[in-house]
């Protein structure tokens, strides 16, 4: 009885986009949430310029849904403004990836990572 995965999840799990991270440097922000001990952890890093996100990298420790969510989000966030990043909510990822109900909590961890990223941006250029 393995859990089922949507084709979008399988696609991102098999071919994750933008895995890895940007080294700390000019215009680089970073947001982390969760932990390995807790079973789910996300690290997002982004390159920002002129009030827009130019590129995103993700690292994830978690189930296939989580890895797919990190990958999917790394594409989704590109081009967002500060305001748009601050307004991002987990339901966006849920719609695209159809998380099973019992895994919804993991999307909240992803949302926390986005929030941390957004806060890092504020600290970078208040």
């Amino acid at each position: 009885m393995e859990p089922e995965y949507s084709s979008t999840v399988v696609e991102h799990f098999e071919h994750p986009r933008n895995g890895g991270h940007f080294e700390a440097g000019e215009g680089v922000i970073r947001g982390t949430a969760g932990s390995v001990a807790q079973g789910t952890m996300f690290v997002l890093s982004a390159q920002v310029a002129e009030e827009r996100i130019e590129a995103v990298r993700f690292e994830a420790y978690g189930c296939p849904h989580c890895i797919a969510a990190g990958s999917w989000l790394s594409e989704r966030l590109v081009g967002l403004s500060r305001e748009q990043l601050r307004a991002w909510r987990w339901r966006d990822a849920d719609q695209a990836l159809q998380f099973p109900l019992e895994k919804r909590g993991r999307l909240l961890i992803l949302e926390d990572a986005v929030r941390a990223l957004s806060e890092a941006w504020t600290r970078l250029i208040p």
Binding site: E2, E4, F13, G62, Q98
Partner: protein, 397 residues
């Protein structure tokens, strides 16, 4: 949601501890038995159809008895190890309940044993749950210390289904015999892999199943010592077959299959074990080379075909999904499907995370070197890929 599955090359079967394919020689004999000219008679009937079936059953009884050093009249046919475990544990404890209500087992037994003991707890018995060491082994001294004047039964498995770790049942049997306590052994995972001799090992009750030893599913055996007789209360009632201990018409074709499977298993045991040990070492070497891989359970006190390892810094569900070209198990088959970490690995001191990131590879009669090499390549690829995606260190924001 459309479920998607990788469907390139056929899966590599490395799950022999869950169940084995039926040996073609066994399948052939069973089919013969099922044909019109086979043996369809009820083995309890006195006519020639019945006596033909009966004689085939008695031959199979001898075959299984010979494989475990028992006398044929000590063999009771059941539907498998689950039923044998239940009959042995509930049967002995209930029969002797007026003499004492203390029983002993371990925390790493199969569910068929654990849940039978939990049932006894509900019936007012006191159960001592022995805790094995981090190597998975219950020391015979622990058993000795647990025994009380009112102890009726000790039940410990020969080989653990998740880790492949071997218990010293002969030493434990000697202690129980000395103290006059009945000793039950679940040998579902050791038949055909280790020598078993119920007399020499002082075993009073022994559970066997055919489907882990290249026989059919749905047939098993409970060995019961007859001299001196061991009191046992049946768990089901009916036509009184098998000396009243297990009523129901005997399934001739299943029994014949189990008999031959055990005869072959014993005859080919040493050759099988030598071949499987080499394959397992090859697999272990390949997996350890990946790095961040640890063996679960004792390094040497283990059966040939089973390898249980944990992978550091890889999440369990992603690991299993990444490895779906391999037919392997995480935890035990009945426990998977739930997100719960294996209680066996937890008892050995593994964290929830590591228990969930553990995989049991079990090899068998039809496993080839090529299967093992392909498995190593797939595991290496997926573990490498998932680790590359995992957070490298605790980053500072």
């Amino acid at each position: 949601m459309t479920p998607s599955h990788k469907s390139s090359s056929p899966a590599i079967y490395l799950d022999y501890a869950a169940t084995t394919p039926v040996d073609p020689r066994v399948a052939e004999l069973m089919i013969e038995c099922l044909r019109p000219e086979g043996a369809h008679g009820n083995p309890s009937s006195g006519h020639t159809f019945g006596t033909r079936a009966r004689s085939m059953i008695e031959k199979a009884r001898q075959q299984v008895a010979a494989a475990i050093g028992a006398r044929p009249e000590c063999i009771i046919w059941t539907s498998g190890a689950t039923e044998s475990d239940n009959l042995a544990i509930l049967g002995v404890a209930r029969f002797h309940a007026d003499r004492g209500r203390h029983v002993v087992t371990s925390r790493t037994e199969h569910k068929a044993v654990v849940d039978a003991f939990k049932q006894l707890e509900k019936e007012g018995f006191e159960v001592t749950w022995l805790k094995p060491g981090t190597d998975g082994i219950v020391r015979p001294e622990q058993v000795r210390e647990a025994l009380r004047p009112e102890t009726q039964l000790v039940s410990l498995m020969h080989v653990n289904n998740e880790t492949g770790v071997i218990q010293d049942v002969a030493a434990i049997g000697a202690i129980c015999r000395e103290r006059g306590v009945a000793f039950h052994v679940d040998a579902a995972q050791s038949a055909g892999k280790l020598p078993i001799n119920v007399e020499a090992m002082n075993i009073d009750l022994l559970s066997l199943t055919a489907h882990k030893a290249y026989g059919p599913k749905g047939i098993g055996v409970l060995y019961i010592r007859r001299r001196p007789p061991l009191g046992l209360r049946p768990i089901s009632y009916g036509g009184g077959q098998e000396t009243g201990l297990r009523s129901g018409t005997l399934p001739t074709h299943q029994i014949v299959g189990m008999g031959l499977a055990f005869e072959i298993g014993e005859r080919e045991r040493e050759a099988d074990v030598t071949r499987l040990s080499a394959l397992r070492e090859r697999l272990l070497k390949g997996l350890l080379a990946i790095g961040g891989v640890e063996l679960n359970g004792h390094p040497t006190e283990r059966v040939a075909g089973v390898l249980n390892v944990c992978f550091h810094n890889v999440e369990g569900e992603s690991l299993r999904f990444g490895l779906r070209e391999l037919a392997v198990s995480s935890g035990s088959a009945c426990a998977s499907g739930s997100d719960e970490a294996s209680y066996v690995l937890r008892a050995l001191g593994r964290s929830d995370q590591l228990a969930q990131s553990s995989i049991r590879f079990s090899l068998g009669r039809f496993t080839t070197e090529d299967d093992v090499d392909r498995a190593i390549a797939i595991v290496s690829r997926e573990v490498g890929r998932l680790r590359a995606l995992a957070p490298t260190s605790t980053p500072t924001p």
